[in-house]
């Protein structure tokens, strides 16, 4: 496939979708306060773009920090859990707790103990992001080849050697898969956390813009925020995908060329 087609076709498809939407809004005369047209959203993006981007930048700081934290802790927890079935059974329920606790209601408990708003947001976004990393990494750690396990056992490899040289590389594709899921969750987790707990000082992230827009019924601007969020989410995904392909291209099926083009 030519590079041009690879870029142009998705854009064209997007363009067709937007045109359809524009036409529908025009045809049924749907007022902008029910469903803004792509043109309205585009205008809002154009006008408010710079200020929205500034807000997005603030949100992204938390998101990126939460992702890094989720990576480190998620992998750490998965490594801990894989040490024994008993440990897994003992500790895993607490990992589930992180996932199923609504940000909205856990936020006050965290605010009581933590002063810095940044840290509060970080904790909440981390809670949203960490579980897929734990779960997928754990699955990956358990999926290491049995024959290679035997090899390591043969050389009386220590736990840490087995971990570093066998389990972690084997878990890498799964971990990266979990990370790609967490990317979006960290982003949306940050936004929700900002909605709940993010009011402070001048530097407020995208959530406050989004809330403000929807509170003031500026739906075009609210949708412009969605668009920015989606583009950012896709950007995070694309970056992680690229990293994933670089790391795995020598050996993992998922990073090799399309099998149908081999």
């Amino acid at each position: 496939m030519k590079t041009s087609a690879r870029l142009i076709l998705p854009l064209l498809f997007g363009f067709v979708l937007l045109s359809l939407w524009e036409a529908l809004v025009g045809f049924y005369e749907i007022p902008p306060y029910i469903l803004p047209s792509p043109r309205d959203i585009g205008e809002s993006l154009w006008v408010d773009g710079p200020s929205l981007l500034a807000a997005l930048a603030i949100t992204l700081q938390v998101t990126v920090a939460a992702m890094i934290l989720a990576c480190v802790t998620g992998v750490g927890i998965a490594v801990l859990l894989v040490q024994s079935k008993l440990l897994e059974r003992m500790l895993f329920p607490y990992a589930v707790f992180l996932q199923v606790t609504p940000i909205v209601t856990i936020a006050p408990f965290i605010i009581i103990w933590v002063d810095s708003v940044f840290v509060v947001l970080l904790i909440l976004a981390w809670m949203a992001a960490v579980f897929p990393i734990i779960s997928n990494t754990l699955l990956g750690l358990k999926s290491a080849d049995r024959n290679l396990h035997d090899l390591f056992k043969l050389y009386s490899a220590s736990r840490s050697q087995t971990l570093r040289r066998l389990l972690i590389p084997a878990a890498l594709p799964y971990f990266l898969g979990g990370l790609r899921i967490s990317g979006g969750l960290a982003l949306i987790g940050t936004v929700v956390a900002e909605m709940v707990a993010g009011t402070s000082g001048e530097s407020s992230g995208l959530a406050s813009r989004l809330l403000e827009a929807s509170y003031r019924l500026e739906l075009a601007r609210a949708l412009a925020c969605f668009v920015l969020l989606s583009i950012t989410g896709y950007g995070i995904y694309a970056v992680l995908n690229w990293v994933s392909n670089r790391l795995l291209r020598h050996w993992h099926e998922s990073a090799l060329d399309d099998p149908s083009h081999a």
Binding site: M195, L211, L217
Partner: protein, 317 residues
């Protein structure tokens, strides 16, 4: 005239069912709406619920705005939704400090850390900035949970007169409460809104809804509120009689519903002067352009008819 068919309408409130909605639930419970030929479904709001968008889209026939901002926002966005009656003459919004700190006036709080929700930040916070010189870097997050306030004796938080002071008091901390309405905050509250289309096509229905609601409020305030309590507790399983009683008591003590203009012209009354007073402050902070025609936000045609006043005055005697 029982000849007309019953009109089915949905009314969205601004929060989870509580004493501030008592009049509407009372009207529902005592059949005032039925008598007016309206079959009303009340949908409760909440911190995450966005009823104004549903109102704009016509998913709700009537909505309840917690303040004067929303109606002006509609006007500003040129969305054909207008305010038709204000059940509260005073906004129950309060700031709450620890009594132990000995703050006397609102302006004492100018240097304190204040817990403010994101919505409030673009709501009455604007008023505090313009009138009292509060600044954004005082803001700390508020999550509609008073525990962080209790945990920190220096903190101040936003609240509703009818609810948070009670909860704080119950937790064993004495609150000092500052009602913004008593410090020049001119916002109405419990404002009934509906679409211009509804007003144009069925003004009679609007009138009947407003009137029945006003009756409901008189009845709730001055006769037995138990029927409303029952319905409120059905919608909001965790609401208690103590809290409802407390809210009811506050509504009366502070005259939120029937003081000022309402004492003369009945519950629901709105005046251009009040709207202007509110708007001018906000225009000063550039929340709205100064040349915005704020009078498009409301209509005065359904109120000031002294509906239900006599009955109540008789009952109250």
């Amino acid at each position: 005239d029982s000849s007309f068919a019953t009109d089915q309408i949905t009314f969205g409130t601004d929060w989870r069912a509580q004493a501030e909605h008592g009049g509407f639930y009372q009207a529902l419970a005592l059949g005032f709406y039925d008598d007016a030929g309206i079959d009303v479904t009340i949908r409760q709001g909440g911190p995450q619920v966005n009823h104004s968008q549903l109102l704009a889209a016509g998913r709700l026939d009537f909505g309840m705005s917690p303040n004067s901002f929303l109606p002006i926002n509609f006007a500003f966005q040129e969305i054909p939704v207008v305010a038709v009656a204000a059940m509260f003459q005073k906004d129950p919004a309060v700031l709450i400090a620890h009594a132990s700190r000995g703050h006397q006036t609102l302006s004492n709080l100018k240097t304190e850390k204040i817990m403010i929700s994101p919505e409030t930040r673009i709501g009455f916070w604007r008023f505090l900035k313009v009138r009292y010189g509060f600044t954004d870097n005082q803001i700390a997050p508020y999550t509609f949970n008073v525990a962080p306030f209790l945990a920190d004796a220096t903190s101040v938080q936003q609240g509703y007169l009818t609810s948070e002071p009670f909860v704080i008091d119950e937790a064993g901390i004495e609150p000092s409460v500052f009602l913004l309405a008593d410090s020049g905050y001119a916002s109405y509250a419990a404002v009934i809104q509906t679409s211009q289309r509804m007003i144009d096509s069925n003004p009679d229905l609007v009138q009947r809804f407003v009137d029945a609601s006003i009756r409901g409020w008189y009845s709730f305030l001055y006769t037995d509120p138990a029927p409303a309590y029952a319905l409120i507790k059905r919608d909001n399983a965790d609401m208690t009689d103590e809290l409802l009683n407390y809210g009811h008591e506050m509504l009366r003590r502070y005259g939120l519903v029937d003081s000022g203009d309402a004492a003369l012209n009945g519950i629901g009354i709105m005046t251009e002067a009040r709207w202007r007073a509110f708007f001018d402050v906000m225009a000063e902070d550039n929340v709205y352009p100064a040349d915005l025609d704020f009078t498009k936000a409301y209509t005065l045609r359904f109120i000031g008819k002294r509906v239900g006043m006599d009955a109540v005055l008789r009952g109250a005697d």
